[in-house]
Amino acid sequence: MFTQRLRLFFRQIKKSKLTFFINLVGMISGLTCVLLIYLWVDDELNVDKFHKNDSQLVQIMQKQVNTDQKRVYPNQSAYLANALKEDIPEVQIAVRTINALYKNTLSHDDIAIKAEGLYADNGFFDMFSFSLIQGTAKEALVGTNDITISRNMATRLFGSVENSIGKSITFNKDETFNISGVFENIVSTSTLQFDFVLPFDLLFKHYPYLYKDWSYSYARTFVLLATGTTLQQFNTKIEKYLTTKSEHNTNLLLARPFSEGYLYGKYEDGVQAGGRIDYVRLFSVIGFFILFIACINFMNLSTAHASLRTKEIGLRKALGSKRKSLVFQFLWESTFLVSIALAVSIVFTIAALPFFNELTDKVMVFSMTTEMLLFLIGVNLVTGFLAGMYPAFYISGFNIVQALTGKLKTTFGGFWVRKGLVVFQFSLSIIFIIGVLVIYKQINLMQNTNQGFDRENIVYFSLEGALKNNPKTFLDEVKNIAGIENASTTNSGFFGGHGSTSGLLWEGKNEDDETQMSYLVTDYDMIELLGIEILEGRSFSREFGSDSTKLIFNEAAIKKMGLKNPIGAKITLWDTPMEIVGVVKNFHFESLQEELKPMFMYMHPERLNTVMLKLEDDNLTTTLDELIKFYEKYNPGFPLEYKFLDADFQKLYNAERIVSTLSKYFAGLAIIISSLGLFGLAIFTAQRRRKEIGIRKVLGQNSIQIILMLSNEFVRLVLVSIIIAIPIAYVFANDWLSGFAYRISLHAGYFLMAGLTALVVALLTVSTQAIRAANENPVDALRDE
C-alpha cells in the first residue's frame, strides 16, 4: 500500500512537473521564511532569559507624574539600591550598575585594548548568571583595587585565562587593578554587554562630578526578590517609596521583570506600550501568512489539478476505495511534499543564516534542539494538513460515474473558493507592499529631516591619557592638521545617553514642577562645530572670561519655562546660580521617534570626556591618517578608536532599518509566491476554458480579444484584492506611524503604487498563459472524441 502510494506519487510528479515545481518552490520559499522568522523570534524571546533567577529578577524604573506627559525611565539615585535593601525585607539582593560612559584602555605589557566597562555592586554575579570561571561571586567587586574581566579580555591580554590569575592590569595607563575574577564571555542574547566590571564605588573616583543625592538619577537598580514575593506585592510596596526619602519628590517607583525590559521597553505617557515585542508579533504574523500563501497555492493547484486526476479517483472509488482512504491519500501526499520542501528549506535557511545574521545584527545558529525538532514536525503536519485538507475533501467527494466519464462539472462552489483564496493571497501581498513603502518612506524622512545641526564628517573619540590633562593644548594642536576644520570637547556620545535633571530653578517655577531637562556638557566651539543656529544672545565664548556659570537653552526649554526675556535671566542649577547667555534653535539630539525635549548646554570642564572633530569633506582618509599619526605620538599607549557621528545617527534607526529590509524581502517573497500560484491557476483556467476559447475562436473572436478576456478574469480578482487590502493597510500603517513623533503623512500614492505593482505582476504572470491559450488551434480543443 505504502510503496504503491509512493510510486504513484512520483509518477504524478513526473506527469505534472510544472504544478509540482510551482508547489515546491512556493513551499520552500514559505518554509524558509518561516524558519528564519522562527529563529529570529526565538532569539528575541530569549534575550536576557538565561539568568537562573529570571523569575525573581526585577529592574526598578522611575515614573515621573507631575508633567503633562508622564515619563518612565530606568535611572535612579545611587542611594536607592541600598535603601531598598534596608527598608524592604522582600529585597534579597539589590545592585546598582552603570555602564562606563566611554571605552577605557586596559593594558598589560605592550598590549592595550579598548574595552566596555561596567560598574556594579557586589552581589552582581549572584544576581545575574554571568558565570565566573575564576574567583567567586562573593569576593568579586569588593576591593577597590579589584577588577573582573571577561575570558576574551584575559586571553587577549595574557594569552589564556590561567595566565591571568593573580596578575594586574593597567587601567587608562594611570591605575592598576588586580584581576580578582574572570567571567565567561557574554552571550549575544544578553542586553548587558561588558568586557570588565569594577566595583560601583569606583564610579565616583572616575567620574567625580556624579553626586550622591536623592534627586540625582543615573544608576540602574536591579533587585532580586525573595522567593514567594510577587511582582505585584513588591510594586505596591515601592510605589510611593521616594516620598519617604525626599518630601518634594512625587516620582513613583515601579519594578518590571528584568528580562521583559528588552521586548517591552517602550512607555507612552507612563504606561507600558509595547516595544520590540511589536516587531516580534508582526514578524510572527508575517511568517504565518507567507506560509499560508504557499499553502493556498497548494490548495488551488491541487484542486485545479484534480480535473486531470478525476479518472484515477473515479477508478479508485469504483474499485472500492473508501472516501476516508482517499482523503488520507491526499493528506499524505501534501504532508510528504511539505516534508521534502522542509528538508530543502532547512538547507536554504542554514545557507542564508550568515546573511540573515548580518541583516538582523544577531548571532543565530541553526541547531537541532528538541524544541526545533518539535517545531519542524509541527510545521510539517500543520502545513501538510492546511495545504492538503481542501483538495482532499473536494476531490474525494467526486461522483464515481462523472469522474470516470470525465464529465465533471466544475462546481461553482469550488470555483469561488479558489477565487477567494487568490484574492486573499493578493490582499496580503498588497498589504505587505504598502507596508514596505510606508516603512521605507518613514525611514527616509527620519534620515533626511533637517536635524538642526550638521552631522557630516564629524568624528569623536575618548578624551583620555595625555589629552585629559590638558585638552586645550591638544585641541589647539590637532587643529593644525590640514583638513581638520574645528575641534571641541563634550561629554559622551551625542545621540542618546544624555543626562537629564529636574534640579533647575527659574523665576516663576512652580514648586511641584519636576520637569526633566536634558543637558549637554559642552566646551567652547561646540555649537559652531555642529553648526547649531543661535537665535538670541551668544554662544559660549572665551572673549567673555569664564563661561562656567553661563547656560544656553534651546527654544523648547525657554517655552517650557515661560521666560519672556531669556537673555540674562537668572537660573539656579544644582544650587549654583547661573545665567542664560543664549538661546539656540531646536535641534534633534535624539531619535525622531522622540518628541523634541527641552534641553540646555553648559560648560563643565571636569565632565568633558569626548573629543569631537569636524573634518573637511576633501581628502577625508588622508586627514584621518594624519590624525592617527599625530595621536600616536601625542598619546602613546592609548589606541585611537574614533567613530563617526553620522554612523551613530544611523544606529538610532537600527530596529526600523532591520524591519525595513526584512519586510522588503518578505513582501517580495509574498508577491512571488502569490504570482506563482496565479500562474498555476492561469494554466488551469486556460485548460478549463479550452473548449470555450475554441468556440469563441471559431465564431470569430481573435486572439487579442481572447487574451483580454482571460486576463480580465484575473485582473478583476486583483482589483478586488486592492479594494480589500487598502483599508487594512491604512489602519496598520497609521498605527505603526503613530509611534513616531515625526512621521510621514499617508498619501494615496503609496496605495496606488502597491496596487499597480500587484496588478502588473499579475498581468505579466497571467498573460503568458493567456497568449498560449489564445493561439491554440481551435480544432484541437473542439474535437469530438
Binding site: E692, G694, G700, P778, D784
Partner: protein
C-alpha cells in the same frame, strides 16, 4: 462555384514516416449544394471538414473559396473570410455553458460590425424562426440535446453565412430529434444555403444531393 479543392493532402510525421490523413482530395461545391461526407472512423471526414472551414491547414494542394485562393491568404484575411461566409454546427453543440441561449446566439455578432439594436433584432429573428423564444434566458445545461443543437444551428445561421459545415449534427441526438434537425437543414438548403455535413447515417444522406465517401483519407 462556391469552393474548389484541388489535390489537397494533409499528413503527419510519425516515426519518420508520412501518415496521410487526407490524400489528393478533389472537390467542387456549387452554391445550393447539400453534400454528405461519409466514411468509417478515422477516414478523415472531420479533417476535411475543418480544412474546408479554414480551421485547419493542409500540406499540399490548392483551395479556392469564392475565387480567393485560401492557401495563399494571410491568417487574418482567412479568418475574415470564414467569419463572413461560413457557419459551424458541431456534434456536441459546443455552446458556452456560462452564457444563456440569447447570449450564445449573440456571440458571433459581437465580433462583426453590427449595432446593438441590429444585434437584438437578429437574435429575436432567430429565436422566432426556431421557436425557442421561451428558452432565451436558459443556460445550455437546462436544454435537451435537440434543443441545444437547435441553438447551435441558430448560432451558425445568425451571421447569414453562405455555407454551413455540420460535423455529425445528429450524432448525439435520438432519432426523432435527429429527424427534426435534418428537416431544418433541408429547409435551409431549399432557401439557398449550401450545406456540407459529415455523417455516419445513411438516412441522413438521403436529405442531401451528393455523397462523398472517404476511406483512409482518399475519396472512393
Amino acid at each position: 462555384m462556391l469552393l474548389q479543392l484541388n489535390k489537397i493532402s494533409k499528413w503527419v510525421q510519425s516515426g519518420g514516416q508520412k501518415v496521410f490523413l487526407l490524400k489528393d482530395i478533389d472537390l467542387w461545391v456549387h452554391e445550393g449544394d447539400f453534400i454528405s461526407i461519409m466514411g468509417p472512423s478515422g477516414s478523415g471526414k472531420s479533417t476535411l471538414l475543418n480544412i474546408i472551414g479554414m480551421l485547419d491547414d493542409f500540406n499540399e494542394g490548392e483551395y479556392a473559396f469564392l475565387d480567393e485562393s485560401v492557401h495563399t491568404l494571410k491568417e487574418k484575411h482567412r479568418s475574415n473570410l470564414y467569419k463572413q461566409y461560413i457557419g459551424f454546427v458541431f456534434q456536441s453543440y459546443h455552446l458556452i455553458d456560462e452564457l444563456t441561449v440569447k447570449e450564445n446566439l449573440e456571440m458571433p455578432l459581437l465580433y462583426k460590425k453590427h449595432g446593438g439594436s441590429e444585434r437584438k433584432a437578429l437574435v429575436a429573428d432567430m429565436l422566432d424562426r426556431f421557436n425557442i423564444v421561451g428558452k432565451k434566458d436558459l443556460f445550455p445545461s437546462q436544454l435537451s440535446g435537440g434543443q441545444q443543437q437547435l441553438v447551435g444551428i441558430a448560432r451558425a445561421l445568425i451571421a447569414n453565412p453562405k455555407l454551413i459545415l455540420a460535423d455529425e449534427p445528429t450524432g448525439n441526438l435520438n432519432s426523432k430529434q435527429g429527424e427534426e434537425i435534418m428537416e431544418i437543414f433541408k429547409e435551409l438548403n431549399n432557401e439557398g444555403v449550401t450545406i456540407i455535413q459529415v455523417t455516419h447515417s445513411e438516412k441522413n444522406t438521403s436529405y442531401g444531393s451528393r455523397i462523398i465517401n472517404l476511406l483512409d483519407g482518399e475519396v472512393v
